[in-house]
């Protein structure tokens, strides 16, 4: 597990998305096999965008309030926040490319 990825509870989550400009959150759960598939992709993003983007994970079983707040219907769901607001949502297992093209356009 990469040290660059933050594991957030609801309070920490609110602090991070309000403090940081660009935050990518992976909503997951321990029982979810597709989430395990996506994990290496999220780790690559954290390394590749180190310093430009904060990457975090939220366990939806432990943080049900956040899952409800963001209407998580399926996991993995990855949400990109800019200045605390949702700017993009990717549902399901997607290749790295799907995220990098999105992030590059937001960072540029």
């Amino acid at each position: 597990m990469s040290e660059k990825i933050l594991h957030l509870d609801t309070k920490q989550f609110d602090e991070v998305i309000n403090k940081e400009k660009l935050v990518l959150i992976d909503f997951w759960a321990t029982w979810c096999a597709p989430c395990r598939m996506l994990a290496p992709v999220i780790e690559k993003i954290a390394e590749q965008y180190d310093g430009k983007l904060v990457v975090g994970k939220v366990d939806i079983d432990e943080q049900q309030e956040l899952a409800i707040r963001y209407g998580i219907q399926s996991i993995p769901t990855v949400i990109l926040f800019k200045d605390g607001k949702v700017v993009a949502k990717e549902i399901g297992v997607k290749p790295l490319k799907a995220f990098t093209s999105l992030l590059d356009s937001e960072i540029a």
């Binding site: 096999a33 395990r36 598939m37 992709v41 399926s74 996991i75 399901g92 790295l96």
Partner: protein
Amino acid sequence: MNNITDIVIIGAGPAGLSAAINAVTRGKTIRIFSNNDNYLSKAERVDNHLGFYNISGKDMMNQFIEHAENMNVNIENKKAVNILPLGESFLVNINGEIIESKKVILAMGISKVKEIAGESNLLGMGVSYCATCDGMLYRNKKAIVWDLSHDALKEANYLKDIGVNVTFVSNKNPSDELNPEIKYIKGTIKEIKGNNKVESILVDDKEIEAEAVFILREAVAPTALIDGLETENGFITVNRNMQTNIDGLYAAGDCTGKPLQISKAVSEGLIAAQHAAKEIDN
């Protein structure tokens, strides 16, 4: 993650089995998955595959399987639900089991998947192809299981066991194997309705409220299996090496297009496996 498999093959018809024996011959480790009968086993008579004539499709298929099994190819009766390219390797989700492989060969035959209204735009928003993957999200909620394959019963019982409020929609007669506490509706799903999430389904002309629909077909369509796969007229686009537009991903047999013939499938399986093996060795 356990050991990395050299080649994962999806489908065990003539193309998949030909790929399997050729990969094994080249000393590669493989896993091969199939969840359904293929067309060959239903053909009444085959006369145009060299060396075989006046043979039933079923007998021919059995000889193919016997050949493969004699070369220690073990066909696993499981369904692929998702493939993720990582660049150097792939992660393949076999109904909840995650396998890492260097190459993947798609040999799933022609896709009989007919999408219904609302299916693709609500995929991941209540529409799911895998009960063991997404079931836990719908504990204490109302979910529909659509019986389009032999494993749908088992998956419906699984969902019931973990606490999902399951309704089973099927065209067949109720089976004794279905948990008797599961509600059974005879019919066909015509449409999935909802705005950003599943809200209801239409079974024939009757509307039923639900938060999830598990569509359990025998196979997942190739374009739903892997993001960004190029197709033309419903067939997977390949080059002469049977490579698709995704690096390390091959396709062989009927899924690549016409002619839908055994000899072509067997040849393409061989080309795909030998090329994949060569790439692994380089």
